[in-house]
């Protein structure tokens, strides 16, 4: 499946209070702390208070429920479905109505622009938006601002002043975390391959570049192969993985950059019958969880898609109440493996 991501003007990752507390395990977003400046320590409290109490059900009861139109980067894939379910449950809690849409793949920038246009045409009370390309969306965001529709960015930043806040994770830092674990697991040397879901979208490039950059900086003895792109398709990623193994019998580790890629890598390794290959994945889903439990996958990075959806709706509602929002809401990322997978705070961010 496709997945989360980031745009050009990435806000610096933050160690939000919530993040660190949620991930009690020592493996929790460690690497992000170094990159953080400390921009948003206060963020968590602000937004949670905004979301929680702001709307009493009675205040809304006479009017039709306010509509929050959400345009995401994807729709069909598990990651986005998890975001959607988070948004939906929060909307039910807060008594608002939402619509949730996204293009079929993360390369369909124009389709997303059309969806955003129509979302604005519905005259929503607020707008949630994860931009595939923020510049392309700029005029529409202006239009929303002119119509006094508050805009909440999520998943990745929007290169614009208009969004009141951004609920997201730092993909690059998350990928670096994956690289760090890979390096540790294979003992700091050997061949490592990347099966990436997309070579142009922000989520694809950042999860690739974050991984590569960490390796280049910290693991000189690890030889990285040319990244291969499987479009997030499991079967294609499996075929790619088998080719990589055939071409490099001495391969030590393979990294799959989203759910579809990761599962494809697992399938490919299984089908090729090769042993001793360390597989690291990204995102969650039942197949990945099974693979980690069975030991085929060493571990994976996951974001908190349900949390992203919840926070987006919370922030939108807060904005409708006229509250001020922090610039950034860090929804965090987590390393999970066999050892911590059953811990409640990890279970809370995994989706099946």
């Amino acid at each position: 499946s496709d997945s989360a991501s980031q745009t050009t003007a990435t806000p610096p990752p933050t160690t939000a209070a919530e993040t660190s507390s949620a991930a009690g395990s020592s493996d929790a977003p460690t690497s992000s702390s170094e990159a953080t400046g400390g921009s948003g320590g206060s963020s968590e409290t602000t937004e949670s208070s905004a979301g929680g109490d702001g709307l009493s059900p009675t205040s809304m009861s006479d009017d039709p429920k306010p509509l929050i139109a959400i345009v995401s980067k994807g729709f069909q894939h598990q990651f986005w479905q998890a975001v959607k379910s988070g948004a939906e449950s929060e909307a039910a809690k807060l008594g608002v109505e939402i619509t949730f849409e996204g293009p079929a793949s993360e390369s369909e920038v124009e389709a997303q622009i059309d969806q955003l246009t129509q979302a604005i045409a519905k005259k929503p009370a607020a707008l949630g938006f994860a931009a595939l390309d923020s510049k392309a969306a700029a005029p529409l965001l202006q239009q929303a601002a002119d119509a006094d529709i508050p805009v909440i960015a999520f998943d990745s930043g929007v290169d614009s002043d208009i969004p009141l806040t951004t609920a997201s994770t730092d993909n690059k830092a998350a990928a670096a975390e994956a690289a760090k674990h890979m390096s540790e697991l294979i003992g700091g040397s050997g061949k490592v391959a990347l099966v990436v879901h997309d070579q142009t979208s922000a989520s694809g490039t950042e999860r690739r570049d974050g991984f590569i950059e960490w390796m280049e900086a910290n693991a000189p003895d690890i030889e990285l192969l040319e990244p291969q792109y499987g479009g997030g398709d499991q079967a294609k990623s499996a075929d790619i993985t088998k080719s990589i193994i055939a071409a490099n019998p001495d391969i030590k580790g393979i990294y799959g950059s989203n759910e579809g890629s990761a599962i494809g890598v697992v399938k490919g390794v299984e089908e090729s019958g090769a042993t001793g290959i360390t597989v690291i994945g990204f995102d969650s889903g039942k197949a990945q969880i099974d693979a980690i439990n069975s030991g085929i996958m060493a571990g994976a990075i996951t974001q908190n898609p349900v949390g992203i959806g919840e926070k987006t709706v919370q922030a939108a509602v807060a904005a409708l109440q006229g509250e001020t929002l922090p610039k950034i809401i860090d929804t965090g990322f987590y390393w999970y493996d066999k050892t911590n997978i059953n811990e409640p705070q990890i279970q809370a961010v995994l989706y099946q």
Binding site: G102, V109, E110, Q199, T200, T205
Partner: protein, 328 residues
């Protein structure tokens, strides 16, 4: 019936002209029914800004569909228009941003580059005799790869060149994006090209019977080369329009556009077996698709149902159109 001989010659001609026009008007029927339905069902649909939004969203697919109408009327197909458009978008970035060429020249070169893609397709089809499906499928793959290579797999932004975006989003006529005008002008141009010129006539006759056309003393190879090249020029223009709209050349988009464009052409009544078709039909076909997309979203139909309904309505519209033609 037997009234007089004199009007017999003028009479049927005029009435058949009228009937022809009426038919074209009626071909709108499917489209109009859909529009009326949405207009009644949802007030947000019938706003002026939503109408322009629909037209705006038709532009890129519409332009691709216009160009490929010619190819389809010859009985061919062009699968390369989607990624070809992307490659042209990237080339516009290369010309205007990387090479910093003047706007006009950059645009001209982009359109010509589109023509070059079409020329290569035409060469493969008309001169080497490859099946159009294969020739353009190969071009689709090549263009997809080259777009990534030439852009280093990263979008090229036109932020430094606001005039470029004006091509699409500017408003010479207030409240109407220029892109819509571009589509309109190109549609008129294509209609003239298809209906009034030798080029159009030969397009039809090649599609109707290529061998007979050849034996009628017409250089069918030359004309097929030209037809594919013209389709390529439209691809080039579509490349400009999409990157102007987005303010960037996105090297990974485009795949899937070819199917939508071909669908627009076929929904518009152009036959994939060649020899039949019209530009009006293609425009209507493209509009049907974008009106449906827009309307379903405006009505907040859950997204997983949107495609189901889209498919059913397309079936219904095309079936109704065929049934109507059968009875008249």
């Amino acid at each position: 019936m037997s009234t007089a001989i004199a009007p017999v010659d003028a009479g049927p001609r005029k009435s058949s002209d009228l009937r022809g026009r009426l038919e074209q008007l009626l071909a709108f029927a499917g489209l109009i029914v859909i529009v009326v339905f949405f207009a009644i069902a949802n007030e947000n649909f019938r706003t002026f800004s939503n109408i322009t939004a629909i037209l705006f969203s038709t532009v890129v697919i519409g332009i691709l569909a216009l160009g490929t109408t010619f190819v389809i009327i010859t009985g061919g197909i062009d699968l390369s228009i989607g990624t070809g458009m992307t490659l042209c978008a990237v080339m516009s970035g290369v010309f205007l941003i990387n090479w910093n060429l003047p706007l006009g020249l950059g645009l001209l070169l982009t359109v010509l580059f589109g023509g070059l893609i079409g020329l290569v397709n035409g060469f493969n089809v008309a001169i080497l005799g490859l099946p159009p499906f294969i020739a353009t499928l190969a071009m689709m793959l090549v263009a997809q790869g080259l777009a990534l290579v030439l852009s280093n797999s990263a979008p090229i932004y036109f932020s430094v060149l606001p005039a470029f975006s004006e091509i699409s989003t500017g408003e010479i006529i207030p409240k109407v994006p220029n892109a819509v005008l571009v589509l309109l002008v190109l549609a008129v141009l294509a209609a003239i090209l298809l209906g009034r010129t030798l080029f159009g006539r030969y397009t039809f006759s090649i599609g109707s019977n290529e061998e007979a056309t050849e034996l009628s003393g017409i250089n069918t190879r030359k004309w097929k080369l030209i037809i594919y090249t013209v389709a390529g020029l439209f691809t080039g223009i579509a490349g400009i329009m999409i990157s102007a709209r987005l303010g960037s050349a996105q090297p990974a988009t485009g795949q899937g556009y070819e199917l939508q464009a071909i669908a627009a052409v076929v929904i518009g009544g152009t036959s994939l077996t060649g020899g039949k078709g019209s530009i009006v039909g293609t425009v209507i076909g493209a509009l049907i698709i974008s009106v449906l997309n827009n309307g379903l979203r405006i009505m907040s139909i859950p997204q997983e149902w949107q495609n189901v309904i889209l498919g059913l309505v397309i079936l219904g519209a095309v079936y109704a159109d065929m049934a109507r033609k059968r009875t008249t």
